[in-house]
């Protein structure tokens, strides 16, 4: 009876084990749904997308060459459609150039840009009326209007967009509107200028292409009213979709010791022709560094180009490099690298070692520095065309990520096999085993019979 009582708890224990196993199976399925990516979770304080529309109301807008209608009437009709379809969250403003001064004095005419509507929540009826009453009048101070638009849009962390609708080249340079655009883009506030040309002459096109290129915008040659309406709507929509995606500003140095330390994320910087920019990223043992870089030629560059991203340890030993090269028209040259930090060294006290003395010892041991810092060196082989200014440098975008390192796979899964050879081998082995056991049994019986 004593044995019975001592064994009795076995029953609840068995049930408990069964419950635990099934509960574990059920529960483990649940968290998989909980950590789904939330698709760009909105930040707590989110700035509204800001768009400023710069409309050319210079005298040349009177020309009637778009499907038989005057340029200004086409622009007014399209704008009215665009204002009707504005996304509710967008801050929208309008600035005019050449709308007020009808005279011939260039200095006066070239100051003629004014804010028609401040950037903010737009009263659609008022805005449409204001646009409809515009009459083609004066000069074309595009550069000044762009500066004004940048002021209208103000400072902030998110991307601002200027939509420039014009029919003629700037008649007021200097300032050259293209230089103004590059200067605004380099100011540190993300600003994109999209240009739409209503005239089709070469000089206008070149100027508008240059402005768009300098700020990462697009250029559209407007041939019909539908095209204009559709394009401006698309640009406003694009502003609403992507304004929140802005990199942080970093400024790399020329040496690793003084380089800024980056955490995972996206950064922007400026790099001159043939300049090297260095950044540092801490990578611990068992982690993998992922970095990519894009260099944008925002001015006229030579036909062939390249970009190089090197990862080195603090002693200057190269770990990995990524490069890309190309030729012809491009908006960006990009490359990336992956690098896995070696697993934690056997001596467990080395991570706590002071980082000052570690680099020499670590490089002697063939490892990157024990503090796990990797230097990223970005260089480009763009070359400026004659007469192109080198300052400010080319826009550079650097993406840094640190993820768990993936060790090399240890062969096919769990010793399972596949294929006809496997079947044959197993069958033959089975057969041989059967034969051996059979013979052993037969021999034993023969021995038994003899006795």
């Amino acid at each position: 009876m004593t044995t019975t009582s001592s064994r009795r708890p076995a029953r609840p224990a068995g049930l408990l084990a069964a419950l635990a196993i099934t509960a574990g199976a059920v529960l483990s399925g649940l968290p998989a749904h909980a950590d789904e990516p939330s698709g760009g979770a909105p930040a707590a304080t989110r700035e509204a997308p800001k768009v400023d529309l710069v409309l050319d109301v210079s005298g040349s807008m009177r020309a009637e060459d778009i499907q038989g209608k005057s340029r200004i009437s086409v622009a007014q009709k399209s704008l009215s459609d665009v204002i009707d379809a504005l996304p509710p969250e967008a801050d929208f403003g309008i600035r005019t150039l050449g709308a007020t001064y009808p005279g011939n004095d260039k200095t006066e005419g070239c100051k003629d840009t004014k804010q028609l509507f401040p950037v903010g929540k737009t009263d659609k009826v008022e805005a449409k009326t204001a646009v409809a009453t515009l009459r083609p009048t004066g000069w074309t101070p595009i550069g000044l209007a762009l500066r004004g638009a940048a002021q209208d849009l103000g400072d902030g962390p998110t991307t601002r967009r200027v939509v420039l609708i014009t029919d003629g080249e700037d008649s007021c340079a200097p300032p050259d509107p293209c230089d103004v655009a590059r200067e605004l883009a380099a100011r540190g506030i993300p600003l994109v200028v999209d240009t739409l040309g209503l005239a089709h002459d070469d000089k206008t096109r070149q100027q508008l292409l240059c402005i768009a290129n300098a700020t990462g915008g697009t250029y559209t040659d407007v041939r019909t009213q539908e095209q204009l309406t559709q394009k401006v709507k698309q640009l406003v929509g694009r502003a609403a979709d992507t304004h929140n995606v802005t990199p942080a500003k970093a400024s790399g140095t020329d040496k690793c010791e003084t380089a800024p330390v980056l955490t995972p994320g996206v950064y922007t910087d400026r790099e001159k022709f043939s300049e090297h920019r260095v950044y540092r990223v801490p990578v611990k043992a068992g982690q993998e560094l992922r970095a990519s870089v894009s260099v944008t030629p925002d001015r006229a560059v030579a036909r062939d180009y390249g970009v190089l991203l090197q990862a080195t340890d603090t002693a200057g030993q190269e770990l990995v490099r990524g490069s890309d090269a190309g030729s012809g028209r491009t908006d960006v040259a990009s490359t990336g690298v992956r690098w896995s930090a070696p697993d934690a060294p056997d001596a467990s006290d080395s991570p706590s070692a002071p980082s000052g003395k570690s680099s020499a010892a670590a490089s002697a041991a063939g490892r990157p520095s024990a503090d796990g810092t990797v230097c990223l060196i970005v260089s480009n082989s763009f070359a400026a065309q004659p007469g192109v200014q080198a300052d400010p440098g080319l826009p550079l975008e650097l993406t840094v990520d640190v993820a768990a390192a993936s060790p090399a796979p240890d062969g096919p899964a769990m010793g399972l096999g596949r294929g006809w050879i496997l079947l044959l081998t197993l069958t033959l082995a089975g057969l041989l085993t059967g034969l051996v056991f059979g013979w052993v049994a037969r021999w034993r019986i023969a021995v038994w019979r003899e006795n």
Partner: protein, 309 residues
């Protein structure tokens, strides 16, 4: 004494039942995990994307099987992002309806390029990746087939890995007067193959190559360079492939694959062959084992078979 015998038996039975349940649940769960192939229903319900990004960062995301139809200007650089998982072979097809040929002044060359999540250029195994449209042409078709996505690769290699892929459509060579004209672009991405034939077998990438798109934060150059780069859980990221569900048994049981069937079949064949081999030597039903000579056979009372005991 009866109870003592039955309690452990019951416990054993309960445990077996639980094991059976989980074993049953396991293949069902792995079958329910999102498969890599694009589902036609998703594309039908989502409708085509009508936007395109203008940079890697702002690339418009395409769901599996979803198309993009975008009004563009000649000379724009258009970006889309899609997610690819291991074992897939993705093909990007682009059709560009060119501006009216009366407005154009010469031939133009369009090209489609693919980049992985680290913005590394990926080669196409089939094309045409670039196509030149003559002035009279009304449209131009491009396509690019990516290499099969590998399940794992050396960090130093440029092999395609699971994660985000970027499509860039651009005009490489065009007379300047033709820039800015309206064009219509259609993008279609198909994927074939699945995780079963991903190479190398048993390899896995701990985190897919999905780049962060959030702004980073810089520490001062003098700051200690350790510990600040913990992977940021709040980071927002580009298009990521659907992750297979992970379970408590995921580390032990990697899911059903054909190796299981081969191995189980091999085991069964081996067992059969073993029995057959044993029977061949040990159970000669018609014969006698070596022993007394046949001449001593007695015609009367049949001797009981010595092996029937």
């Amino acid at each position: 004494m009866r109870t003592t015998m039955r309690t452990p038996l019951k416990a054993l039975r309960a445990g077996l039942l639980a094991l059976g349940l989980t074993a049953l649940a396991a293949p069902a769960a792995s079958a329910a995990s999102p498969s890599a192939s694009p589902s036609p229903s998703a594309s039908a319900s989502a409708g085509p994307v009508t936007t395109a990004g203008t940079t890697f960062l702002t690339a418009a995301t395409l769901a599996p099987g979803q198309d993009a139809t975008v009004a563009a200007s000649t000379g724009d650089y258009l970006y889309w992002a899609f997610a690819a998982s291991e074992g897939q072979t993705d093909t990007v097809q682009v059709n560009v309806t060119l501006p009216p040929s009366a407005d154009r002044t010469g031939p133009q060359t369009w090209s489609v390029e693919l980049f992985d999540g680290l913005r590394r250029r990926q080669s196409c195994t089939a094309g045409p990746q670039n196509a030149t449209a003559q002035q009279s042409a009304a449209s131009v078709g491009l396509s690019c087939t990516l290499r099969q996505i590998r399940s794992w690769a050396e960090p130093w290699s440029g092999d395609p890995l699971p994660g985000t892929y970027y499509v860039r459509l651009s005009v490489g060579d065009v007379p300047q007067p033709d820039l800015g004209l309206a064009a219509q672009v259609q993008v279609h991405i198909t994927a074939k193959g699945g995780a079963d034939d991903a190479q190398p077998e048993g390899g896995s990438l701990k985190a897919p190559l999905v780049p962060p798109v959030n702004a980073g934060s810089t520490a001062a150059p003098g700051a200690a360079a350790t510990g600040s780069a913990a992977p940021n859980a709040a980071a927002s990221r580009a298009a990521a492939p659907a992750e297979p569900e992970s379970h408590w048994y995921s580390d032990v049981f990697s899911g059903w694959n054909t190796r299981w069937f081969w191995t189980i079949a091999g085991g069964a064949l081996a067992a059969l062959a073993g029995v057959a081999g044993y029977t061949l030597t040990r159970h000669p039903r018609g014969r006698r084992p070596a022993g007394p000579v046949p001449a001593q056979r007695q015609p009367h009372a049949p001797q009981p078979d010595p092996y029937r005991s």
